[in-house]
Symmetry: D2
């Protein structure tokens, strides 16, 4: 029997990238017909594009990530329709026994009413009990999964018993404009000016995504911050 | 404690629709500038559009469904990016204890190698064991879910222990062209001529979807069948 | 020879619609699991959705228009990728000799530098000269088009000489969320709070679009205005 | 006054690219969980994906082109919604006087009825007359454009008189799957098995696009040909 492993972190790896700030500038300058400028002018142009909602030049930058997150995080991620996904298949492969459990930092109490929830840290008891719940269900489910496989049950049937805390992995190919929309909804920073209520775990993943994407198009993400993290 | 319920069927309800065969004809005739024809000519036009891959007129028909399926089916569904989804939220609501279990008709044996699997009926023992596994995990997980809620753990944390067999529900708004693409990938019929390997349960749901959509645009789906179920 | 006709208005006709405010409410309530409310509560919900950028429920409303605008307007329109188009084809049909000319209200002077243009009324002479230019080129081009057709030249070749001022017509099927994005970019009103620099003629068409769409989902467009015409 | 220039070729330049056959293989193998294979196995995998309509891995390859084509070609191009465009703006820039004229190779006669047109070469007279028509209208229109600018008329008004034969330029960023869909509709080759009726000029441009894209993902396009040029 495979050994179950628990983790709480979100796995994000930058696999490939196309273009950068210069691509945004080139794409924008085809519209205006102006020649390529010096770095200061290019920064000014990118700022102008972000401020005035000329979003399409930001689509000239494309990044590809490999992501490892629990299914409950992946389900939110796949709601973003502008971009490409390739995910591990529970129909064709034997899955890996890796499951999520909340850390002590994960806020556990939901306070307030729908539409205006806030979250607060849980007590020590709440933390222990929810980790026990996550671990016990994962172990029970994994055993049931392996038992079914041992009986010759198809993978696509056996996997139904696995919980949403199961880690999955996928490739995500996305342009910088769609990525900024993702970040504007799935991450809160000090620069955020728009209503944003991300799930704790997707916020963590989005933070890593952003740090990596920023290396690809530094000025673009600086402009995104400067204009309140409204996607252009 | 809520009483757990098990079901195996896929819930599909037609909520609303816009247009029909006449809309496809009108959208196509704006291109050709020809006047509206008699029913026989309209049928001929729809057939011509489907055969020659003039797909955009089929986007003039829009249907909206309410769907109730297990999460493992919903996950495949949400891969279809041309269309709109609104799904019950495990962050904001207390979920319902409804879970999937396979029926006796559900093929349980996966035969062959990746890319060329076929499925065969399971033995009586296999059927019984997989149903027991589905039921036991669902019960364990549901108890763990309710226990966490009783302790004041946030819904969005407690729900992580629930299995992929949990039923979810969502609205799906989709045009007839995107729907035909969905059907060409997610359903096999006698008219299918393209390689298609749907999951058993999504095939069942797709069958109901198609039956309902057919009432909205009879000739369009007849043409879809006639041309081998290739999406136009 | 066909008689050339000049017009300056934008033609917008509502052909069909699916859903309304109630569809937005239903789509949102599937997420929250709450029961349908009274009208005041529904208005409150729609406002909350618009304010907090819960955009997907607005996709449950779909409208279809027939549009008649010059090619230079249609070219901007077709940049909007979420929606469906069926346009008259210059390859398959003999086009109609209907061309745009600016009215006296159309601002003719472009003042300032790129990225910060403003427009001012033209002088009487400028108005007369630009109308003469529009008319003379249209007449020359139309004659050349008809002459080529008379010589047996294919429609798809002959039409190349026609100017961007030629009227075209198309069906547009679009959901309310994508429509609000269109309106936020293509129309300025007193409620506009975001940077928006629409072409004069598309702003005129967008005004008519909005007036018609508003009859389909009154509260949704009221919320759109209330929150500064930021698309949800 | 600027000197008018006429051209008949389509300008296609590969600006940037991300990934290649190896990216398709990696994206597919995340689904199946299998390790990277040798070149022969990778070719086999790509063929299998193309044959069995597993299209999403082909989205892991992205290419960016700079395109120079007449407006009547660009208008067809911009109907393809999965991809990104940045085009020269007639609102913000003074356009260049470059216009299309048909070569002697361009078929000029449209034979048959709608939906089943074929094209045949024109006579010498037809060729001469259509070239004269293209040239005369372009010259008349360009003079009218410059005269309006000289009078201080806004660029966005003056440009309305320019014909569809005017060359425009744009950046196009597109993934290999969407590109194959474009090619399946806009280009005919000996390998084509699906109904395809491209405009002569877009077919020429698509041929150049394909030659360049092929260098980025050789096996992918070989598989596309092998399976009849049906987009996966």
């Amino acid at each position: 029997m495979s050994t179950i492993r628990f983790r709480s972190d979100m796995g994000v790896e930058l696999i490939d990238a196309m273009g950068g700030d210069h691509s945004i500038v080139s794409a924008a300058r085809v519209s205006s017909g102006s020649a390529a400028g010096d770095p200061a002018k290019d920064r000014g142009l990118i700022n102008f594009l972000a401020r005035d909602r000329h979003g399409s030049p930001f689509e000239a930058v494309v990044v590809q990530f490999k992501i490892e997150v629990p299914v409950f995080v992946a389900r939110e991620w796949f709601r973003h329709r502008v971009g490409s996904f390739n995910e591990v298949s529970g129909r064709y492969t034997i899955l890996e026994p890796v499951f999520y459990e909340p850390t002590e930092d994960r806020p556990l109490k939901q306070v307030g009413k729908p539409g205006a929830y806030t979250f607060e840290p849980g007590t020590v008891t709440q933390g222990r009990q929810t980790r026990i719940a996550h671990r016990q269900v994962a172990e029970t489910a994994w055993t049931a999964y392996e038992d079914q496989l041992a009986l010759g049950i198809a993978r696509e049937v056996a996997r139904n018993v696995l919980p949403l805390s199961l880690y999955t992995s996928f490739y995500w190919t996305v342009n910088a404009r769609s990525l900024m929309n993702f970040l504007s909804l799935r991450r809160v920073t000090e620069a955020t000016t728009v209503p944003t209520f991300p799930l704790y775990e997707i916020d963590q993943a989005a933070g890593q995504i952003e740090e990596l994407a920023r290396t690809v198009a530094l000025e673009a993400f600086a402009a995104f911050d400067k204009h309140g993290r409204v996607a252009p």
